[in-house]
Every structure is written in structure tokens, then in C-alpha cells.
Amino acid sequence: MGDSDWQALSARQSGLKACTSCGALQPLADHEPCRDCGAAVHSRRTNSLQRVWAFLIVGVMAYFPANIYPIMKTRSFTGNTTDTILSGVVVLIQSGSYVVALIIFVASICIPVLKFLIIAGLALSLQHDWDISTHNRHRLHAVTEFIGRWSMIDVFVVAVLAALIQLGAIMTIIPGVGINAFAASVIFTMLAASSLDPRLLWDHSNDD
């Protein structure tokens, strides 16, 4: 907390806890549900970081088969082709569709990897009290929340193609194993991002 001189006070520091549903405050020691909306109120989600790590590990694990196995099988009368994410990008580059190739590459390769790194970095910074400003932490957290959904673009592309292109012997597109793994990877990464209780970001930044 260097650049601004106002001192933020977290609810927890004030001995309170806020309801995540309606925002109503109640004392930390109060174990009742929220008086206003009846939702369970926790000062911090329990085991938040453990869940982040658990989901992140699953997401990373799923990312390997997502890239190794084909995400799409194209069966046409000229033959069968199977495409992994990277081979699809290569094919697009070879055929001159650089912009599409870039979009796919960014959405399928860069963003997931970036998310893994950001979430892991945030979790590590919380566990090991790295000197990162709360503001930056929040910015990183916002970024993961924002870009996470874009990773699903590949899944949607394959889903739409597979649903539309079913022309029997002429051309059929079948989703491959890879796309399931990829979807799983994206989902678990999103779960990891959402498991990170943003309120934790406050706690550790105030240690200094």
C-alpha cells in the first residue's frame, strides 16, 4: 500500500463479515445466516486456496491431452483428417489465414497458459506473502475473470461445426477427444479462478 495514503479497512479487520449475496454486514462471531437474505455468511471462504490449487492442477492436467489429442475429426470423401489445436493453427497459417490463426492461437494457447500462470502466481503470492500491491492483485484477478470465458471459443467452434456439418459421406465433422479435455481444462481453470476468494487479497497485503 504505497501509492495512495487512504487506508482501506476490510470488513474482517473491523470484526465484521459481509454477506456475498446482499452485502449486508454482520459480526464475525455471529454464526447465524444473513439476516437480510438468509444466505450463509463467511468472512473468508474456507480452504479457498486449497480449492484453487486443486482446480488449477486438474485444469493443467486436462490441458495436456487437450493439445495432444485431436479436437476435431473431419471425414470427407477425400479422406479423413484429424486436427489438434496446434495442427489447426499450422494449417491456418499455411493457408494464409493469419488473423484467424492468431485468434485461435491466442484463445487456445496463450490465454489458458496465461490464466494458469496468473492464478498460480496469485495463489503463491498469497501463500508466500509476495510483495505485490493489492491493486495489482485485483487487476490480475479481474483479468483472469475476464479472459477466462474467451478460452471457450474453441469449444464453441467445434460444437457448432460438429452440429452443422453432418453431410453424411460428403463431409462430417466429429468432435475429438481433445476438445473434451480442452473444455474440462477451461472449466476447471474457471473454477480455480472463481474459487479464489478475492477478499483474501486484502488480508495478505496488509501484513507489512
Binding site: 473491523s14 473468508r44 480449492r51 492436467m61
Partner: protein, 557 residues
């Protein structure tokens, strides 16, 4: 709210205690993921089937990582790599087979590439035009020793190993119009096909491997006769001409048919695969050879014929009571045993016991039967088959009055039958006498006389009188023509004459009408009138003829 918030804020001053370090249940997820991944890895490793290498001449559309190996349209393997063989002349395809088919990858397994095939005898595999080629595999249902290297077939086999049926080998002298894939017919129903056509090891025969599908293979008996059907079989005989076509397909490709003589259906069908049969050239030939055992060495005997055996050759028939019971397999000459003696010839007699009513008889029984016959006076004898061609036949005759003889079982390679001196020689002697008499005819003097006659004729023709003859002939011809023209003018008067005659006969009729029908004159007159009518018609016909053909008066018609 605000009060309470302030209270809470003021009431807490120190940092709250760390949250209890409980283990989150979420950790089960990565654990499950790890287990799943491990299972997938382990499964795909242990589930890896054997890798086999198949050598093909050409890759023919086989692609690494894509082409499947199929059996009955079910995938049982996948091509992992395609590379040139070390000799750079063939292609080695590495295939990862499914583990559950591993036990059947033994020496009976065959691989071949399925492509679209369009040629004169078949159109197949068109589906591969769209789907791409694949490798077909075939094995029997008996697990065997694992093999990992195979040579791929160039042509797809016509029947797979598991197909129920019967494989037979037919041998023929010539291949004829029978090709691989030609149909096999039973009563004009297609029941199988030719799988392989090859030469025998010594190239003396053409061998056909045929396959007869179940349940028709139950119609194959030891005595079944196979014959080629090459297009049309026609015959012209005393009962007219007949044409027989086994099938339209066979008209173009040829085929094989088989049939069973009525008597052999009493025997049991053939069950063992690979049995050999003779392939006859035609249905007639097959029927002519009514019984099998044509080349069965168990039924062979030797016969030593003294003296000349001119006219005795292989395939000479053996007759018993006028019925054909076998043939002479071969004839060889023997040198005289002592100097100045007469030479002899040894014939190998091939009997067909089935023709004697002993179907598929064992050698012992056969020898026993023949021994009995010989004891009863049976002998073999050369007889004249055809006086004109001088061909012989071997006849089995029974002469009970002859002294006892027996079969010589010590001779090699077959037992020897007792021989009766032939009356052939007498016949031959007669023929020889005839020829001698013919040759003694005074042919020479006849020829001399004829020559003289011819010479006289030549002299006559060459004489100067003969040269004037054509001129005389032409003058006489012209005088004949002149007389013909006279005749023509004469015929111009004929119509008048006819009219006159008709009128006369009309008058005669009038006269007759006045005469009583009972009188004699009436009868004679009526006869005369009838004759006049006939005469008038004849003259009319004559006149017509002359008008049409004036030369008729010369030529008479």
C-alpha cells in the same frame, strides 16, 4: 446497521486467527484426475496389441495413422507407419493390431489391401473410393503361434478362412477358359468358385484350387466328376443337335461344373479338404468316364503279349463281355529272352473296378476277385478292334476248358495276368495274305496296256484329221440351227391345228349326244373323244414349250 458496523469494527482489534487448516474435499478432484490419467495411460499401454509388419508390393492408398485393418468390416487394427523395405522395392506397413485378435495372428493369417477393383471379372470395393482403402485381414478360428511379419497378398482371396465349405484340387491337362474366380456349378446353380489356378510342380498338369460353399459341399462324393464348362457345349448326334450353356456368366468366363452319377450317392460325402479330382474337358467326356479310378494304381495289372502288338497303344480299351472295363495305361517292348527268340510287349492294364460293380474296392479284395476270375479260366487276349485301322483292343475272355493259370504276384511293378495267344495274329495273317494277293495282281501289265491306250489316244488327237474336225463341227451346228428355224415356222401353224382339233372334238361330242349311252359306239366314241382331248392338251403343252424354248426340239426338253 451503521451502529452495529461501527461496533464490530471497534470490537475487533487484533488480527483474526488463521483459518483451520482443514483439507478441502476439492483435492479429491485432482486425485481423481491423476487416477484417471494413470488408468488411461496404463490401459492404452497394456491394451496395445501386437505390432505386425506386412510387406506389400505397393502401398496402394495406405496412410500411416489412418488406414484401418478390418475383418468383416470391423476395425481390428490401425496402420502406424508405412515405409519402404530395406531393398527399396517393396513397402513395409506396420500395423498395431487389437489385443483381442492377437492369438489368431499365426501362419494362416493373410493381409491384403482393399481398393476399388474394376475389371472384366469383378467390380468390387467401390466404397473405398470414398472411404479410402483399407487392409483386410483373414484368419482361421484356430489360435496359433504368433507371427509378426507377413507378406501381403497381391490379390484378395476369394473366400475367407472361416467360410464353411470344402476346398478341392482339380487337375486338368489344359487351363482352358477357367480363371481365378470362375464359378463352380452344380445343376447350373453356382455353388463355389475357383480360387487358384497353377501348374503342378512338374508342369504336367494344370491344378485348380476350388472352393465349394456349404451346404453344397455335402454333394461332393469320392466319385463326383468335375468338368469344365467353357461357354457353349454343342453336339450333333443321331437324335438331333443340342446346345448347352451352363450360365451366361460362364459363357464369357468359363467355369467348372460337377455332377454325381446316380450310383455313387450311396457312398458317403467327402469331408476332408484338399482332395484331388480329375477335371474333364466336357460334360460328355465326364459322363463317358462313368467311374473313377482311372488312374488308380491299385487296380493295375501287367500283361505280357508275345509277338507283334502293332496297334496296341496307351488308352486302348479293355473289354469284358463287350463292356469297357479299363484301358491300357502304357505299352513297352521287351527284348527276346534268348537269342533268336520272339520279342514281346508288356502292357500296363488299368482297370476300373467300378465298371465291374466293385466301387472303391480295396486292393486286396480286388486282387481276390480277379484271382477268382482267373481261376475260372479268365485270360487276357489281344483282339482286333478295327480291321481298317489295325487298332487292337484287350479282351478279357473266359475259357473254362483251359488249363489252370494264376496271377503272377511277383512281377514288378504290378501283378501279371495270364495271357491267351490271340487270334489277332491269325487275322493279321489273313490280312497279310490278302495284301500279298493284291500285290500279286498283274498290275504291271495293266499299267503298260493303259499307257499304250493313252498313247494311241494322244496320237489320234495329234493327227491332221483331228485339226479339221472343229470346222466340220461348226458347219453341222449351223445346219442344225437352220432346221430349228424351220421348226419354229412350223409351230406358227400349230394354233390353227389346235383350233381345228378342238372343233372336231366338239362336233364329235355333238354326234355322241345323239348316240345312245348304252351302245358300243357311244363308248368307243367317247373314248376317242377323250383321247382327242388329251391329244389336244398335249399339243398345246408342246406348243407352249416350243414357244418358250425353241431349242427343245433339239435337246428334247
Amino acid at each position: 446497521m451503521i451502529d452495529k458496523k461501527k461496533d464490530a469494527a471497534s470490537s475487533v482489534v487484533e488480527r483474526p486467527a488463521r483459518l483451520p487448516a482443514r483439507l478441502s474435499l476439492t483435492w479429491l478432484l485432482p486425485l481423481a484426475a491423476i487416477l484417471f490419467a494413470t488408468w488411461v495411460l496404463w490401459d492404452s499401454y497394456t491394451d496395445r496389441g501386437p505390432l505386425v509388419e506386412i510387406t506389400f508390393d505397393k502401398a496402394g492408398g495406405v496412410t500411416a495413422g489412418e488406414t484401418r485393418v478390418r475383418r468383416n468390416d470391423v476395425d481390428v487394427g490401425k496402420v502406424e507407419s508405412v515405409r519402404l523395405a530395406d531393398d527399396l522395392n517393396s513397402v513395409v506397413v506396420s500395423v498395431r493390431m487389437d489385443p483381442q485378435v492377437a492369438p489368431y495372428l499365426d501362419q494362416d493369417t493373410r493381409f491384403w489391401i482393399v481398393n476399388a477393383r474394376i475389371n472384366t471379372t469383378e467390380i468390387s470395393g467401390l466404397g473405398t473410393l470414398l472411404s479410402g482403402s483399407f487392409i483386410e485381414v483373414d484368419w482361421d478360428d484356430v489360435p496359433g503361434d504368433r507371427r509378426s511379419e507377413y507378406i501381403g497378398l497381391k490379390e484378395p482371396p476369394l473366400t475367407t478362412r472361416g467360410t464353411p465349405g470344402l476346398r478341392l484340387t482339380l487337375s486338368a491337362d489344359e487351363a482352358g477358359y477357367i480363371y481365378v474366380g470362375s464359378p463352380v456349378f452344380l445343376r447350373q446353380i453356382e455353388v463355389g468358385r475357383v480360387e487358384r489356378r497353377r501348374l503342378s510342380a512338374d508342369a504336367s498338369k494344370v491344378l485348380f484350387d476350388i472352393f465349394i460353399e456349404a451346404p453344397h459341399h455335402k454333394n461332393v462324393y469320392p466319385g463326383t466328376r468335375f468338368y469344365g464348362v467353357s461357354g457353349v457345349e454343342g453336339s450333333i448326334g443321331a437324335d438331333g443337335a443340342s446346345v448347352r450353356v451352363e450360365s451366361i456368366a460362364a459363357l464369357f468366363t468359363g467355369g467348372i461344373a460337377f455332377e454325381n452319377p446316380p450310383e455313387i450317392t450311396r457312398t458317403s460325402p467327402v469331408v476332408d479338404t484338399g482332395r484331388s479330382y480329375k477335371l474333364f474337358g466336357s460334360r460328355t467326356e465326364a459322363r463317358g468316364s462313368l467311374f473313377d479310378g482311372e488312374d488308380d494304381e491299385r487296380y493295375r495289372f501287367l500283361a505280357e503279349f508275345p509277338g507283334s502288338v502293332k496297334g496296341l497303344r496307351a488308352d486302348t480299351p479293355i473289354e469284358y463281355n463287350g463292356m469297357r472295363v479299363g484301358r491300357v495305361a502304357s505299352v513297352s517292348a521287351n527284348l527276346p529272352r534268348n537269342i533268336g527268340g520272339e520279342g514281346s510287349a508288356t502292357a500296363v492294364l488299368q482297370f476300373q473296378p467300378a465298371r465291374l460293380g466293385l466301387a472303391d474296392v480295396s486292393q486286396e479284395l480286388w486282387y481276390e476277385a480277379v484271382e477268382g476270375l482267373v481261376g475260372g479260366g479268365l485270360r487276357v487276349q489281344l483282339a482286333s478292334g478295327n480291321l481298317l485301322t489295325g487298332s487292337l483292343l484287350v479282351r478279357m475272355v473266359t475259357r473254362p476248358e483251359l488249363s489252370a493259370a494264376s496271377i503272377d504276384f511277383n512281377s514288378e511293378p504290378y501283378p501279371t495276368l495270364p495271357v491267351m495267344p490271340a487270334n489277332v495274329e491269325a487275322v493279321t495273317a489273313d490280312v497279310e495274305t490278302l495284301v500279298k494277293n493284291l500285290s500279286e495282281l498283274p498290275l504291271d501289265s495293266l499299267v503298260i496296256a493303259a499307257t499304250g491306250l493313252l498313247e494311241d489316244a494322244r496320237k489320234l488327237i495329234a493327227s491332221p484329221e483331228m485339226s479339221t474336225l472343229p470346222g466340220d463341227l461348226s458347219s453341222s451346228m449351223s445346219s442344225i440351227a437352220a432346221s430349228a428355224s424351220h421348226v419354229e415356222s412350223a409351230t406358227a401353224d400349230l394354233p390353227a391345228l389346235i383350233e381345228l382339233l378342238t372343233r372336231v372334238s366338239g362336233n364329235a361330242n355333238d354326234v355322241l349326244e345323239g348316240v345312245s349311252p348304252d351302245s358300243e359306239i357311244y363308248f368307243e366314241l367317247s373314248a376317242a373323244v377323250r383321247e382327242l382331248g388329251v391329244a389336244a392338251r398335249s399339243i398345246a403343252a408342246f406348243a407352249e414349250l416350243l414357244e418358250e424354248n425353241p431349242n427343245a426340239i433339239l435337246t428334247g426338253r
